[in-house]
Symmetry: C2
Subunit: 316 residues, 2 copies
DNA sequence: TAGATGATTGGGAGCGGTTCCAACTCTAAC
DNA sequence: GTTAGAGTTGGAACCGCTCCCAATCATCTA
């Protein structure tokens, strides 16, 4: 396996020059650069990440933390899609991705701490649930860039990426309205969850703008023409109720939800939903991290991923 | 941040001795070991993974490849659960986990190759779909241990871990039979898929052992008392048919499936299934890799993860 | 033509570990 | 008392890169 010295010798230049070429630094003449590139090609040379890491104190690796506190992923079947996006942007930016569990231990210590202490990652991507905990304070000390997947409320020093939940709530209401459903309720007002609150706010905004009134879905769905459900589970419960009281979907009542469970499109009726681009979310989280890494004092960003309506069978 | 020299100085020993203690090597007196451990503790010392990697040519990192050829994870919502298992066992074994996409590029080359060439991983865990392809031949050259998640048919030199699909098929039939369903069909005989074939074989074995005959689910489900479905989607289609022809589930017909989609338990009726422990699968894949890493010429293993019946509403 | 300036270039000195060999200590045997 | 051998120990050499300084070269100015 060729080293930087082999390349230097073959190209008839110094080690420093090769290093400059590899790292795309200025102050190398075009002629020299070509010679070096040629030698690299011929020797099929690839820099050792360890030597590089050791010398530069950079790992060129980003850590992503998965929340493994829950028993089953089934509680959050969506996160993998986000990771796919993170993976893609991180690698394409020339970095690598270390996957870490929140609660994983290594030699009796939290694995994250080991990784941080061993300087194995230059930055950390984590989910908003993790921040603000005791756990997070630990991490923060290491003073590396952090990006959160999910909005942060009490920290204006950390960049985050999230779905545009407000818009999602607004659009859900707007879509139902545009299909002729006027009396629209929101099901699943779990105000302790940020995303739920935001979606609810978006819904309220639209409702207000039309002079309608905010509603929750009552037991018999009396006087309700449309329901916005926080997730598929709520949607299916509403569907059950409709069946029980013999209310026709989508003729008499329209239903829309936000998430899109793996099985959802095969079910009957399939539920119209606000489509959330989780892959895009991951992609952005990755680029934002690269951003921070390349420019340490870039500003804190809050990024919102737009959403769209995915029309299925529960709306006319 | 303390280095090995600081520790050596503080403990009043040589660098080599500290190294021996860190790596748990023999030939260190108990007394010295204690001194060193104390110094390590006091200085909060953690070896640099780069220095270590550079000197020892070991990365203490395992790569896991995710299949990102499909557009959406929705096609395989289960793999994240497997990764959770891999992650856990790998870290607890003192290794780290690098997450890699199959088709991700880095500087115009496949990321996997870059990682392999940069010697960033000591071993690779991948899914069976990846093996046997042109792609895989590339990987194989690097001559590091490989473990496959999913049975391998044409390679007896690579260890793999899989669900006990044969047993799953057998148990599905057995369970239906035990609940009084005798005429049992198998829906979703996708013989090109290994796992489908194996489940089908298991089903046939049980059916044969009772002197019953193998069936497929006909359009009107005539003469059928139980259906084993390859996955939830098949199950829901069968359920639709039952509704159409007014056949009562679970009274007149029993339905069982193999997978367990995130939403499945909330649906009505929820489908009885053979429960597959994907986390365990990942756990085993990780340990098997550690095995190989610690003992290079250990034998090739084929490991089967047992399954169980998860009773829900489509069987009486 | 000398001197100044800026663009290139070479290579020594680390980075923080592991490996290995020589040296030292301590018994046990002769 | 000497010697052999096993158990310990220290530290030089090295892993393959980056960083930085000094040296060289080309160009421009007075």
């Amino acid at each position: 396996m060729a080293t930087i010295n082999d390349v230097a010798k073959r190209a008839n230049v110094g080690r420093g020059t090769v290093s400059r070429v590899i790292n795309n630094e200025p102050f190398v003449s075009e002629e020299t650069r070509k010679k070096v590139l040629k030698a690299i090609e011929e020797l099929n040379y690839h820099p050792s990440s360890f030597a590089r890491g050791l010398a530069s104190q950079n790992s060129y690796t980003i850590g992503v933390i998965m929340d493994n506190t829950m028993d089953k992923v089934y509680a959050n079947p969506f996160i993998y899609e986000v990771f796919r996006g993170v993976e893609k942007s991180v690698y394409e930016g020339g970095y690598n991705l270390l996957l870490l569990g929140k609660n994983t231990y290594q030699n009796g210590k939290l694995a994250v701490e080991r990784v941080l202490q061993g300087k194995m990652v230059d930055g950390l991507i984590l989910q908003e649930q993790i921040i603000d905990s005791e756990y997070f304070k630990n991490i923060e000390q290491y003073n590396i860039p952090i990006v959160s997947i999910g909005k942060l409320e009490n920290r204006d020093d950390i960049s985050w990426i999230d779905i545009d939940n407000h818009m999602a709530g607004y659009m859900a209401a707007e879509y139902l309205y545009s299909r002729g459903y006027k009396k629209i309720a929101f099901e699943g007002v779990e105000l302790e969850k940020i995303f739920a609150r935001e979606r609810y706010e978006g819904y309220k905004e639209f409702i207000g703008s039309k002079g309608l009134s905010v509603m929750e879905a009552n037991e018999l769905l009396q006087n309700i023409e449309g329901v916005i459900c926080l997730d598929n589970i709520y949607a299916y419960k509403i569907l059950q109720r409709c069946k029980k009281i013999n209310k026709k979907v989508p003729e008499e009542i329209g239903i829309i939800t936000f998430d899109n469970y793996p099985l959802a499109e095969y079910l009957q009726p399939s539920v119209t939903n606000i489509e959330i681009d989780l892959f895009q979310l991951g992609l952005c989280a990755g680029s934002e991290m690269l951003n921070k890494l390349r420019n340490r004092n870039c500003e804190v960003n809050r990024i919102r991923i737009p959403v769209s309506v995915n029309i299925r069978e529960t709306t006319r």
